[in-house]
């Protein structure tokens, strides 16, 4: 496959670390039945009506704030702690806090901590994403 959605190239990469996360705001996303079908298909779980991974997708979206990953960024680790099933209304809110650290080799690590909730505010799942961030992007 060599064709890329034009939308991806239209989405600019994260330019500054400050663009990551939600800055305390809950970012809501309502998924469609078609999203469920696509996700179930991707996971080979065709008989699952509301895949748990919808929470994961909402969480990841909250990390990047509508941008795409900068070239050279590497996903190093993901933690996923589930609380309850994805709600029937398929609406998920996510807040994302971001921190950075520099290791002894001078590399920048970005940790994004995401909490997802249902529309009634019930905790859905928590996530931690750890990225090795490219130096040229880390300096901005």
């Amino acid at each position: 496959m060599t064709s890329i959605s034009p939308g991806w190239y239209a989405t600019r990469p994260v330019a500054r670390l400050a663009e990551l996360g939600t800055n305390g705001v809950v970012r809501w996303r309502t998924f469609s039945d078609e999203d469920c079908v696509n996700l179930s298909h991707a996971l080979g779980m065709q008989d699952t009506p509301a895949p748990d991974a919808l929470a994961f997708v909402a969480a990841r979206s909250s990390v990047l704030g509508g941008h795409r990953m900068p070239p050279g960024a590497v996903m190093a680790e993901i933690e996923w702690v589930a609380h309850v099933e994805v709600p029937a209304d398929l609406t998920i809110g996510a807040t994302c806090d971001v921190s950075t650290r520099t290791d002894s080799r001078g590399r920048t690590w970005v940790t994004a901590t995401v909490a997802t909730v249902t529309t009634d505010g019930h905790p859905l799942a928590d996530f931690v994403f750890r990225f090795l961030w490219p130096q040229e992007a880390a300096s901005r």
């Binding site: 959605s5 996903m75 680790e77």
Partner: protein, 130 residues
């Protein structure tokens, strides 16, 4: 050490496209052969997030009903598109450890826990242990 579940999986193009569509992630690292030839890996790679989500989905139902409490994966090496992923979940000292191998090397490791905090033997294995 007891294998509680193992499966092999070669994520295909429709699965990658379905994941990219829902997650709105069309990073050329996953879709563009020409772009990837200029990268250090040289080939397209599977979404690590998709692999984590599959491990989570495979871990459902060990304790009834449902959700695993937590799933963690650390990504150690690229998982090239087209390569068969061998996923093994083993009970080690009360926790379930996960290993994902691709092309003969370990590509990711992690763990799965259930609400009780311990490991659960899978009631069935969807594919035989290699």
């Amino acid at each position: 050490m007891t294998t509680v579940r193992s499966f092999q999986w070669t994520p295909d193009e429709p699965e990658l496209l379905a994941w990219g569509t829902v997650s709105e992630d069309f990073n050329p690292l996953h879709f563009d052969d020409e772009f990837c030839r200029r990268t250090s890996v040289g080939r397209r790679v599977v979404f690590g997030a998709l692999v984590l989500a599959r491990v989570q989905a495979e871990s459902r139902g060990w304790s009834s009903p449902g959700l695993p409490r937590s799933v963690t994966l650390r990504f150690l090496a690229p998982m090239p598109v087209g390569s068969e992923l061998a996923v093994t979940l083993e009970s080690v000292n009360g926790t379930v450890q996960c290993t994902v191998s691709a092309e003969g090397r370990v590509a990711a490791t992690g763990s799965v826990t259930h609400p009780s905090g311990g490991s659960r033997a899978a009631p069935d294995q969807r594919s035989p242990t290699p």
